[in-house]
Structure formats: C-alpha cells, structure tokens
C-alpha cells in the first residue's frame, strides 16, 4: 500500500480506531457481526472519529481563515463583475469564516459596497455549501474523488446560481436600507496570539453547537446501518427510483442541521445502496438552505428574490443529484 493510502486510512479514516472499537465491543461480550454489536461499534467509532476530526480541522481552518476577514474578501471582489468575479466569489466563500448568524450583515456589507447581486449570491451560496471542514470529513467517510467532486459541483452551483440571479435584474428587490448602509474600512489586524485564541474559541463554539446534531445523526446512521434491510431502503429511495433525488431535496431543505450531523446518515445510506447523487443532494439541501436562514434573509430582500434564490439553489442541487446518480459508478 502506498504511503499516502496508509496515511489516509490511519489518520483520516482512523481504521485503527475502528479496530480498537471492534475489540472493545467484543470485550464487553457483544458480537460485532450482530445487529446490536454492529450498531454499538458504528456509533462509538463514528462519534469519536467525527469529534476528533472536527476539533482538529476547525482549529487549523479557523486559524487559516483568520487571515481572510470579510472586509478583505469584499475589497478583493470590489469593482469586478462577470463570470470571473462569480467564480472568485464562490472560491472565497469556501475560505471566509462564516457563521449563519453573520450572513445577513455580510450580505448588507457586500451590497452597500456596490458589489453586484450575482457576485454576492455566488458567495452566499458557496459559503455554507462548500466548507473546508466538511470536505475533509467527506474524504474521511467516503474517499478523495467524492470529496473533490463535491467541491467542484458545489462551486458550480454557486457560480451558476449567482449568475442566474444576476441576469434576472432583481436589484430593486433589496431592502432600501441595505444600499445606504455605510461601508466600513479595513478589518483590524490580529496578532498571532489573537488568531490562536480565535481558532480555539471557534472549536469550542462549533462543538457546543453541533454535538446534538452529530449524536442524532450518528444514531440514525447506526440504526440504518444495522436495523433496516437494504431491500427496504432501496425500495424507498434506491438509485433506480426517479423520485429519490427530489425527495431527498424536499426533506433536506427545511431541515436545520449541520453537515457534520448529516454525514453519518449519508454514510449509512450509501452503504445500503442509495445513490451517491441522492445522498449528496440531501447533504447540500440541508446545508445550503434552511428555514432559519431563509427567514433571516427575508428581512433584507423582498419575497420574489427570496423565492428566486431558493428556486435556483434547489434546481442546482436537483441537477447535481441526478448527474451524480448517473455517473456514480466512476466513484464507488
């Protein structure tokens, strides 16, 4: 086995941890091949792995992101337009620190500085959708080709979605106070100590926020993994069922959960023969659109723009799901 493969298996996928948990399950008198033993093994292994990876990743990524505050992103994007600007906005969206409660001030800040709606929306779509931590977790649970494909299609949704919204000329759909808001200057420079403190706080904050979702997600994943027969799953949402992708999107949109909570469910579903496209569409719908964030967005844009935004993103996710299901044998 190659060095890269070994490192990937042991560090990212934590194969050693799975072996350790399997021995632990045996030690308490359960058979890992049985339903109960298998569920316990899946649950313990996934919970430890997700929290360990999450903490390390959030720390490193937050530290890196502290170099790229939204003010700098805005300055970089200022005065640009066209497809290049949208692509740049989508790429920066993956790097800029982002919390859903900050998305509205960010939207106001971008729009007030005169950035076109298309660029702002490309950023707003890619920011929650393609997140560095989730990409690495995807690589850990599935594999690198899938993680990279997820990034690529996430960026495509952001670029195309932003472009479509820009073409529709809905500039008048933004609340008036947004345009007249003052534009702040440079972000303050941080010292190295402040960056590390910021990274540490982010870990504490995010772990505190997502742990219930992770436990619920892994719980559902463990149940699917060991208790629900593959025939039932594939009869309901199997790859050959045309409704599987639309259903996944419909269920995912109103849901407010973190991608970290949906990954274990995705893992278990793929194991039961659900199409990769269906699972990716579900994860994207959960992260890109949620009722709480739409309600917040409604406070700064009029209803037609909000509906357009939701529609464009939904259409993008649907097509990605269908395309991935059609070509999934390239990946698994």
């Amino acid at each position: 086995m190659s060095v890269f493969g070994w490192m990937n298996d042991q560090i990212l996928r934590m194969v050693w941890l799975n072996d350790l948990v399997e021995n632990g399950v045996r030690a308490v008198g359960l058979d890992p091949a049985s339903r109960l033993g298998g569920s316990v093994q899946f649950f313990v292994y996934d919970v430890i792995k997700i929290f360990a990876l999450l903490s390390v990743l959030i720390f490193v990524i937050s530290w890196a992101q502290s170099h790229s505050p939204p003010e700098r992103t805005r300055a970089l994007l200022g005065g640009r337009s066209g497809l290049g600007a949208n692509t740049m906005a989508a790429l920066l969206g993956t790097l800029t620190p982002f919390c859903s409660c900050s998305s509205i001030p960010l939207f106001i800040g971008f729009t007030a500085a005169g950035l076109p709606l298309s660029v702002t929306f490309s950023f707003l779509i890619s920011s929650p959708l393609v997140d560095l931590a989730s990409v690495i977790l995807l690589a850990s649970i599935f594999n690198w080709p899938i993680a990279l494909a997820y990034v690529a299609v996430g960026l495509v949704v952001a670029v195309v979605g932003g472009t479509v919204i820009g073409r529709l000329g809905m500039e008048d759909q933004v609340a008036a106070f947004v345009r007249t808001a003052p534009v702040s200057g440079e972000a303050e420079r941080l010292t190295q100590r402040e960056r590390l403190a910021y990274a540490r706080d982010q870990v504490a904050e995010i772990v505190r926020r997502v742990w219930p979702y992770v436990l619920i997600g892994v719980g559902i994943g463990a149940a699917i993994h060991n208790w629900i027969p593959a025939e039932v799953v594939s009869a309901l949402i199997g790859q050959d069922k045309w409704w599987s992708v639309p259903l996944a999107v419909l269920v995912g949109i109103p849901m407010y959960a973190d991608i970290f909570g949906t990954l274990p469910i995705a893992e278990a579903l793929v194991g039961k023969g659900v199409g990769l496209g269906t699972v990716l569409a579900f994860m994207m719908a959960v992260t890109a659109l949620s009722l709480p964030s739409l309600i917040l967005l409604r406070r700064v844009v009029r209803l037609p723009l909000l509906v357009t935004f939701t529609g464009v993103v939904t259409a993008g996710i649907l097509s990605i799901g269908l395309i991935f299901n059609a070509i999934s044998n390239w990946f698994i």
């Binding site: 505050p69 919390c99 001030p105 106001i108």
Partner: protein, 75 residues
C-alpha cells in the same frame, strides 16, 4: 455610557453582552447595555461580522467575543 451589542441574537452575542456588563462593573462605570437586533440599525454601523461592540456610538470591535478584561481596557 451606552454600550451596544450588535447581533441577531446568536449565542456569541449573548456572551458578549454578559462580558460587557461584567466589564462595566469591573471598571466602575455606569453603563447601559442595549442589544441591537434590527438589521437596519446594525447595518447603519457598517459592521460586517457580528457580534459587534459599540461604545458611545463608536464601533470598537466586530466579529469577536471579547473577554470582560479586554472590554474593560476599551472603556
């Protein structure tokens, strides 16, 4: 003095408000703490990352949860 906390009511904003009131007490200042949740008003301060901290109508920090000690230095 008037201290304003800008933010839509997320957890960070609540912590920052608590730290600000502790800082005011520690610094021995009479301070009124106001939570600003209206986006129009937040936007008027030009803040792009919440929570923001405003002391006597001047933005002193954005996007950070400062500790009570840090805030006391700013008062």
């Amino acid at each position: 003095m008037i201290i304003k906390i800008l933010g839509s009511g997320c957890r960070k904003c609540v912590t920052l408000a608590e730290n600000a009131s502790a800082a005011a007490v520690a610094a021995g200042k009479q301070a009124q703490i106001i939570k600003v949740t209206d986006f129009a008003e937040i936007a008027a301060y030009g803040v792009m990352s919440t929570p923001g901290l405003v002391v006597d109508d001047k933005v002193v920090s954005a996007g950070k949860v400062l500790t009570a000690e840090d805030i006391a230095k700013l008062l």
